[in-house]
Symmetry: C2
């Protein structure tokens, strides 16, 4: 049961070995090594290797004793990326966790790719998702949109992350209304769409809002771990029905993956860490939209969702952020079929959300 | 009740006005403006001004309708910095929140500077803090350190953020043991030190671990909002005794403030946002230590803790990250008296934590 992390050190790497040693101390003892009591030795992280990869880049591999995690996701996060977050020129670029520890800290996605496909009854083709918005609409309008998207063949119909508990569509009113409308859309069309309410409840409302979502028959949740914390995702994965889909939204959290020389590499954040926390699918800003990831970074994210990691189920990459239906062939070619194609505002063109959804769906049906 | 945010736009600002307009949409409707229904207009954010500040910098001021927050900290965070976090070249550099909304979302620090001084019985001088570490020591060793620091005159004795619920010193064993030792140190010395356990409990353990801390007589908590979420700080501020000190640790969260052209400016993050969440004091990596903030950034953080904001109590800046007692005069000169001077590993020099604490304390006693 060990945790291994790889950090990219940029900038002055003449002293890369020293920087790596300091990093291993920072992330475990955070204590002058010459003063550390011998009995604390088992809790110390150690540098496994330091490889120079060019004039301004070195990769430092650090091993952590798994007992340092206390078998809790919270300490895993502190351990691999706590103070490290404060260091420019240090980026977490890879992570490995033993299957035993991953199981102990939460067990990863309850559904993963296969489970999501099973509950959505979508065995092979790309999964389609959209967002109910804009915030400010009353519940009945959002519900009507939900029904139209369900009838049009969208699989995952999520609240926008900006839908909280505002007066225009309060959570306790909106969630049952939309869930009912999506169910009606399914009944009318034979589709199996799921409604995922936005879940950014403050701690005192977590249980109540989860109960509302469950009683309404929601099919999962849009979670915002940057706001509520990654451990809340894990808690939800462990405290919701077996068929509940957890889709993670990158608000705030994504800020840790923006700098190319600090923070967390996008594939580690959106892929490995969100899988470890229990997300079944991870929304991220795709290349070619309103945001800035390169195609290479996006491909890495998709690989981070899919590649063997800690014995956990793979998750689904959900590229979004300004996607359009006309890009579907390109996106499928790029990401493959195990993908959630998230298209928001563009489905509202022409004032016919059902019609645009049907055309979106027709683009992926040949891949079923 | 309005929220106003200022964003620094860097890079190509020839189209700064367009970028600002797109940002206001991104952070509220996230919907093509030409398609937005008229009835959703009240939930839309608006650009107040765009000021060019040089060839590569513009400041965009955006007003948000306060109803967009739903009176919850979670949505305030999504609103002012949700998708914005994903954008390089956009940085949140200032924030104003109406006192009514700030009160509705939590009310800020329960103690603030004056309250912390009152409960610590330290009316004027800088407050001293240290950390119990390294992780890996058994509870009795950490307790002995706690007693020595209390006897030596340290005011806030916190667990290291790496102390979770590991086998070497399980939370339920460690917290009562250390609290008792600090109380004994106070009794022997006449000091009024407080012990702050590290609180990074996963959701299912939040109430139980808080109960343990309260029953043990802990004087507050070291919270890690980057792990547990800023809303948990707010929840703790509202669900703990009036004299409970909440000290925030920057693990993970601080990664949002590292890039000079993205994320959140350090004074907004460590000052304003942590105050809004309810932290009485905020640890940050000081200039001149192991991390990288400039003196200007550190001064801004101290100002962010102190300046009028949303009618909230000021908080205490807690510079740390490789401080040394011999820098006390310089640090006090720089930060002023309303500061928590956090010195960790250096107090362990010479194998005499009580003696080094006494000497640390003697440096600030003349300022009482």
């Amino acid at each position: 049961m060990t945790v291994r992390a790889v950090y990219a050190l940029t900038g002055d790497i003449r002293a890369a070995r020293d920087r790596a040693e300091a990093l291993a101390v920072e992330q475990s003892h955070e204590f002058p090594p010459e003063l550390a009591p011998a009995k604390a030795a088992p809790s110390r992280a150690h540098v496994v290797s330091v490889e120079e990869r060019g004039p301004g880049l070195a990769l430092a591999t650090v091993d952590f004793p798994s007992d340092l995690s206390g078998n809790e996701l919270t300490q895993v996060l502190v351990m691999v990326f706590g103070n490290c977050a404060l260091l420019p020129g240090v980026r977490l670029v890879d992570l490995d966790v033993s299957p035993e520890l991953a199981a102990a800290v939460g067990g990863g996605p309850a559904l993963g790719v296969d489970g999501v496909r099973r509950v959505l009854e979508v065995p092979k083709r790309p999964i389609l998702a959209t967002a109910l918005k804009p915030v400010g609409l009353p519940s009945e309008d959002l519900a009507a949109l939900g029904r139209a998207f369900a009838e049009g063949g969208i699989d995952l119909i999520k609240d926008d992350q900006g839908l909280g508990d505002q007066r225009w569509a309060p959570y306790a009113e909106r969630v049952p209304r939309i869930a009912e409308a999506v169910a009606a859309g399914n009944a009318a069309s034979g589709n199996a769409a799921r409604y995922l309410p936005c879940f950014d409840a403050p701690p005192e409302h977590v249980e109540e809002r989860l109960r509302i979502a469950l009683e309404a028959g929601a099919g999962g949740l849009l979670v915002v771990p940057g706001v509520g914390g990654l451990p809340l995702v894990r808690w939800l994965a462990r405290n919701t029905p077996d068929d509940f889909v957890l889709l993670a939204h990158p608000a705030l959290l994504g800020g840790l993956a923006v700098s190319p020389t600090a923070g967390i590499a996008p594939d580690v954040l959106y892929g490995l860490l969100l899988r470890l926390a229990g997300a079944d699918a991870a929304i991220f800003p795709s290349y070619g939209g309103r945001f800035s990831f390169s195609p290479e970074e996006c491909r890495a994210i998709a690989e981070g969702c899919a590649r063997p990691f800690a014995g956990l189920a793979p998750s689904l990459p959900a590229p979004g952020g300004g996607m359009r239906p006309d890009r579907v062939p390109e996106l499928v070619d790029f990401y493959g079929r195990d993908v959630v194609l998230l298209i928001g505002g563009e489905l509202h063109r022409e004032g016919d959300p059902r019609g645009t959804s049907e055309r979106f769906r027709a683009l992926v049906d040949p891949l079923a």
